[in-house]
Symmetry: C2
Amino acid sequence: MRIVVDAMGSDDHPGPDVAGAVLAAQEYGDTLIVVGDEAALKRELAQHATNGLKIEVVHASDVITMEDKPSVVGKSKPNSSMHVGMNLVRDGQADAFVSAGNTGAALAVATLYSLRRIPGVKRPALSAIIRVRGRSVILLDVGANADSKPDWLAQFALMGDIYAKSLLGVTRPRVGLLSNGEEEGKGNDLVREAGPLLRALPLNFIGNVEPKDLVKDHADVIVSDGFVGNIMLKSLEAATSMVINLLREELMSSVVTKVGAALSRPAFKSVARQIDPFETGGAPLLGVNGVVIIGHGRSNATAIKNAVGQARKAVQGGVIESIRAGLEQIEQSGQSTD
Amino acid sequence: MRIVVDAMGSDDHPGPDVAGAVLAAQEYGDTLIVVGDEAALKRELAQHATNGLKIEVVHASDVITMEDKPSVVGKSKPNSSMHVGMNLVRDGQADAFVSAGNTGAALAVATLYSLRRIPGVKRPALSAIIRVRGRSVILLDVGANADSKPDWLAQFALMGDIYAKSLLGVTRPRVGLLSNGEEEGKGNDLVREAGPLLRALPLNFIGNVEPKDLVKDHADVIVSDGFVGNIMLKSLEAATSMVINLLREELMSSVVTKVGAALSRPAFKSVARQIDPFETGGAPLLGVNGVVIIGHGRSNATAIKNAVGQARKAVQGGVIESIRAGLEQIEQSGQSTD
């Protein structure tokens, strides 16, 4: 397998990006293609023991930053590491693309300038893999479409279902529709219109779900429009870090609890690992005509390596082909998502 | 002051509701009016030492349950404790109404059958008081309006601002608009249209905010439509309880960490108190023509007492008058929220 890593993606690029690619080459034995400023990447690679590893460097002269406007940068920086890297996948020279860069820019470059959409896909969706007690739950869309239509949500459900099967190995993923109450009839206009569309699809649709259902192992895939999914994801992150920080501070506030904190450290570490976003790798951009995984800007080498691992699984699981086939099948059976 | 407590509201009514009213009568010295099945309430009151306390019982023959449909129950149970209790406020026989009952029903009864809206208010908003590190942040709307319009959000901002001044004592509350990114231009259509309306109002409007801004003490009032606010609130609750439960379980998993847990107990207790939703009391229904505070269905006596305390503050702060005056002022100055 040949996997592209955008070496100019993370906040501290190219250090973590290159180190992650090296780790991935070691662990998986695949060919890793690092894309970015050639001179900088060669300097960076020289710091690692790469003997026997399959690592290639491809030059890209432009760098997309976190501050770049997605609506502008797709056109204004045509030789960015995102363009060059995704084009390798588009042209069949690589199997997947991984970046810890600007999510909006990756979406714009993929959709408008490089890989484009899988035929039949109305809108790509950014999918978050949320770890809860060792399980993974897919939440989508978490930001690609701030205003969604009911038939887009139906497609998000289909794509999430397929991804859950290939990534999580769930035979019949439970697909829920995020709402402000579980009873049918609850929801905003979008949710109430999308419900019947999801019910008509060949899915294990469990109806409306609430945020607590994520925690309670009631759903494998949670479907939402991009604005609401983004707020949910960020609310979960904000509350998690707040509680952990509060406990850390409190534990440090007296001698007795300091001792308690020392003894409790393994428990804290275990919990931190269970909810560590870096462990999951990244967010797949589903609906794009090629495997694209977007990591967090703060990714370290391990996070990049895990994102590559996730990309491999998506390629091995034939996610793109499955989404294409799934959409075709529904089209032919007349169960349109319109 | 005379405050009505819906004695048939909480999941375990009338026990916690009556006990909470008794606690409130003790602590505040106000007249507490408990509304519900008279015989049951008298039996319940007989279990408490009420000598010297000002507690009145008013009979209501219907009981609204958590399962009752808000759209139906306003009409089908005209003698419910909610109707009877709110009518006491409407008719000037009491100053505020507190219930731990069905939120949707309380909204319907208030808006359509009893107190009605403050003149000029387009839609009432349910407001959550979220405790973060000892501060309180007001998030509204958290569920009254699943589909909101930009000018409603502008009114929510005004009402939240007034409530923050009277309840939290903040001179110039920082009012933020919940969005999927802080930059101007981020958001869904609703947020992008509401932004300029909020900016035109006489508020300390700080622009778009994200869930993390709640935790980081960047805002006192966060404005959102009812669907998104509800998802945010429930996501915060879900993540908070998950992290705490995970830590508890992990701490109990080995002897060493069990000792750590014992020593860490004060820290856990302190954190639990800092984020305890029962400490804040309840959610005010802003925009209704009378003070209405809705508590959680799981409210215990302390939660009911705290909800009464919150109702007192709203009455003392003249929240209803301030909202009326604020809306009139804007109307006259031509800074309409349309």
